[in-house]
């Protein structure tokens, strides 16, 4: 069979694909056109456009907001590794099987319950203002340190649960095989279970880190002027909500590639497994 001619089945499959693509493109264009034509017909549209999509204010506020976003990125970069490490530690605590280590199991359970149950912003306030209020001297009372700690404590609870689900999903035959090879429980964990578990939950963890990128903005409540706070300052000065739209656009520039990467990893994993 030569490469240039297709079999009847292949030709049919190709034509079906082409037709589906054409229908999809037409349908998407129609929806986009409807939105573009019908939304401005709403009576309040000029006022909403002036208030949320004001081009002049968009351009004025973009540079400063981009600069403020760098602070968000920095906070994210120093929080994310610590969250990953602490999350793994808490997951291992919850997985402690020896009866002597029961207090660790209890600690892990209480930790994940408390920090997943309380809203992040409350923890940011309690730790960000409360701990420095105990009388720490500068620079140890900085809101950056304690706010980041609040984020780290909260997010590691979620990440710990993800790691724990990964560890528990490794079939017990793996542990049995490791035991039959003479590996101790800690070696089993280190060489057999964890490598598989961590790889298995990478997509779920990526979800948490995308959420973290946005929750970093909560640190603005205790002082740091990052993008959300700067957008609020502009909103107050110009009496206009466009700076928030600018902040949303800047966030999307980062989170959309991250989301696509997570999707790619998940589909790669699905292909490997099946």
């Amino acid at each position: 069979m030569s490469l240039s001619t297709l079999t009847a089945r292949q030709a049919h499959a190709q034509s079906v694909r082409k037709r589906s693509t054409t229908i999809a493109i037409i349908s998407t264009t129609v929806v986009a056109l409807l939105i573009y034509l019908l939304v401005p017909l709403a009576p309040g549209w000029p006022a909403v456009k002036k208030s949320f999509f004001n081009a002049e204010i968009f351009i004025k506020s973009f540079p400063t907001l981009l600069e403020a976003f760098l602070l968000d990125v920095m906070i994210f970069l120093w929080c994310a590794p610590l969250i990953a490490i602490l999350g793994l530690v808490i997951a291992l605590c919850r997985d402690a099987r020896s009866p002597a280590l029961y207090p660790l199991r209890l600690f892990g359970a209480i930790y994940t319950d408390v920090f997943r149950g309380v809203p992040v912003i409350l923890i940011v306030y309690l730790i960000g203002f409360g701990v420095p209020g105990l009388g720490l001297s500068r620079p140890w009372n900085s809101p950056y340190i304690w706010g980041s700690l609040a984020l780290i404590l909260t997010y590691s609870a979620y990440v710990a649960e993800i790691f724990r689900s990964g560890i528990e999903s490794i079939h017990s035959s793996q542990r049995a095989a490791a035991a039959s090879l003479g590996l101790s429980p800690s070696d089993t964990m280190r060489f057999v279970v964890l490598p598989q578990a961590i790889r298995r939950v990478v997509p779920a963890n990526m979800n948490m880190f995308i959420a973290l990128q946005k929750d970093v903005a909560l640190l603005s409540f205790i002082g740091p002027v990052e993008i959300l706070r700067q957008a609020g300052v502009y909103k107050s000065l110009y009496a206009n909500f466009t700076p928030y739209v600018v902040a949303a656009v800047i966030f999307l520039i980062i989170t959309i590639p991250a989301t696509r990467l997570a999707d790619h990893l998940m589909s790669k994993q699905r292909r490997e497994r099946s």
Binding site: F221, I222, L237
Partner: protein, 277 residues
């Protein structure tokens, strides 16, 4: 006899006409221009702070802004039982849809940028801006001089005009930290994360005396300063016909001294605060 009675009838009719004219004149301006017919809906903050409103109860009429609002309402022909209070934040006041108030007063400063989106009445108060610090900061050598102030770590309420004022008047060497409201600024001061904060003078005096144990109002930028003056106005939706009536009432209050007497009633004497050089 006939002449006497006709003169008396005529004079009664005339006096009735004149008095009803005056009654109409008092309420005439605002009829039909309010959100709800016959009722004036005023919005303020949630919560509203001392000394602008006492005890978060604007309906009692206690507090500078509550008193000014009731006086304006009376001059427009709405007595106390025809005034309804609601709450609306700054964000709710600038959003493009329908507003749920006739006017909103909560220490809103009149700025050019805001004037493009909403309407302000003529100013009812000119605010001096004051620097609030804690005693330890003053003991470490902070003075009411610009050079000394530049070196402090500053904080402010992010949604107020204190932010541009910090930049233009003081220009601190370290970037200021910004907070959601005055209580958070005070919390940061108590946690020693910031040295100083900028508020309008009455708020600074209240926070320094009642909320912070060791608060000190270090100095003020007086109300009649030429750079970045801060004047409070009542906020209304753009093009609101009620603005004319409110402005008339406020101008009359300024002319006959009523506004000054309300200010003397509710806002403390602030002569002791040094002016920043």
């Amino acid at each position: 006899m006939f002449l006497k009675s006709s003169i008396s009838i005529a004079s009664v009719c005339l006096s009735l006409l004149v008095s009803s004219n005056m009654a109409f004149a008092a309420g005439e301006c605002a009829t039909g221009k309010t959100m709800k017919d016959g009722v004036l809906t005023i919005a303020t903050g949630n919560p509203s702070y001392f000394p602008w409103v006492i005890d978060n109860k604007p309906a009692d009429g206690k507090g500078f802004e509550a008193a000014v609002a009731y006086e304006v309402a009376t001059r427009m022909g709405f007595d106390k039982d025809k005034v309804e209070w609601t709450t609306a934040s700054f964000d709710e006041s600038i959003q493009p849809g329908e507003k749920n108030f006739d006017f909103n007063l909560q220490q809103f400063s009149i700025t050019e940028g805001r004037e493009k989106v909403v309407d302000f009445s003529v100013p009812y108060y000119s605010a001096a801006m004051a620097v609030l610090v804690r005693k330890p900061t003053q003991e470490k050598g902070a003075k009411a001089e610009l050079d000394s102030l530049k070196g402090l770590i500053w904080g402010a309420d992010a949604s107020t005009t204190a932010v541009p004022m910090l930049k233009k008047l003081i220009d601190p060497s370290e970037k200021p930290l910004l907070y959601n409201d005055n209580n958070d600024v005070v919390a940061a001061m108590k946690a020693n994360q910031i040295d100083a904060a900028l508020f309008d003078l009455p708020t600074a005096m209240y926070l320094g005396a009642a909320v912070l144990d060791d608060g000190v109002v270090l100095g003020q930028f007086p109300a009649n300063r030429s750079e970045n003056p801060d004047q409070f106005g009542m906020l209304m939706s753009e093009g609101n016909p009620l603005k004319k009536c409110i402005d008339e009432a406020l101008v009359a209050m300024k002319a006959d001294g009523k506004l000054a007497s309300i200010e003397a009633d509710w806002l403390q004497q602030t002569t002791g605060v040094p002016i920043i050089k």
